[in-house]
Symmetry: C2
Subunit: 202 residues, 2 copies
């Protein structure tokens, strides 16, 4: 928390209901939610709108692949795994765990299904043979691309609609939205849209 501190968490857990017809949303007489003095800071209300828009945008962003996945008996978890294996083929199981922020038991379940059904193959690492490097099969690539297609259309159109300069702005926004400590990791992952340089863990 760097800003906004006295905004939320200020009028704490009052007693009880006082049922309906609440004033706009909180007892907040200050005009700008506590972050007014910082010249450029947005009002809390505007930030909340962005939070909502982000929710709706992401909800719909995932809807097309979700629909396709059902035909394959897969879920969103499979999509995530397949996407990253396809885009960064040769990554290790540990890399994937780090990207997805899930446990290896959770990953194991979906990864095994993707392997069993022939969408992903494993290969022992060259330098370290304990590592299992992951690669998409042709079938895996085809599915990954089919899942990505509607998302790319969506993004392409949204960027166009956002107007000139949108690309740079959006990139900076998204990167800054990622937790600071995660950024180097994300950069490192995204820097290899190809076989990850072996041993390039961190």
């Amino acid at each position: 928390m760097t800003d906004l501190n006295e905004g939320p968490a200020a009028d704490q857990t009052g007693p009880e209901a006082k049922p309906p017809r609440a004033k706009t949303h909180g007892a907040r007489p200050r005009g700008n939610g506590g972050l007014a003095r910082k010249r450029a800071a947005l009002s809390e209300a505007k930030l909340l709108e962005f939070a909502e828009l982000l929710f709706f945008a992401y909800r719909d962003f995932t809807s097309d692949p979700d629909a396709i996945l059902k035909d394959f008996g897969f879920g969103r978890a499979h999509h995530r795994v397949l996407h990253f294996v396809n885009r960064h083929s040769g990554l290790r199981v540990a890399d994937l765990l780090d990207i997805l922020t899930i446990t290896k038991q959770s990953l194991s379940r979906v990864l095994k299904q993707l392997i069993d059904k022939g969408y992903i193959v494993q290969q022992a690492g060259a330098s370290d043979r304990r590592e299992r490097l992951l690669f998409p099969t042709d079938k895996g690539r085809a599915l990954a691309e089919r899942l990505a297609a509607p998302q790319l259309v969506r993004l392409s159109e949204a960027l166009k609609a956002a107007g000139p300069g949108a690309e740079a702005v959006l990139r900076r926004f998204l990167e800054a939205t990622i937790t600071a400590e995660e950024r180097p990791k994300v950069s490192s992952i995204m820097a290899s849209p190809a076989p990850l340089k072996p041993g390039g863990k961190d």
Copy 2:
């Protein structure tokens, strides 16, 4: 699909593995993934980067409230419900179903918990007494704000980092990312950061 059509889904489900060391990511000799001629269209690779950044950004965007929710025995589903009830107090159950795109049975479970624990109250509609309008209690407002706080900080900083004009660009981008048919509904919902005008369903 408006563009990008012959890009993905082109080289379909080939036979089998041909294991590792895949060329960058697909058999795609065309320089610009099939959407080159449209002067301003981004390359497939760049669009994929945006897709990944969106994933990472959203992953981290939800991480702070998720951590807080654990202390309350709630999950992300509770957060979503509480957020929308707080921001758009007085909405109906049907509105919520529409926003969240889940079944009423799914909603019922988390909503009941939020009601039982005193975060949300219901009130019969004035004009139509079948409707159950939803309102946050003081306790509910407090929790909603506590959950929102880190997200607002994150957004505020990311918008600052994105530079001048980011606000307008981002708004256009997010709105355009929402499925076209959903946009009127979303606008209508977002237009009421207060008690929804009764009967204002669609």
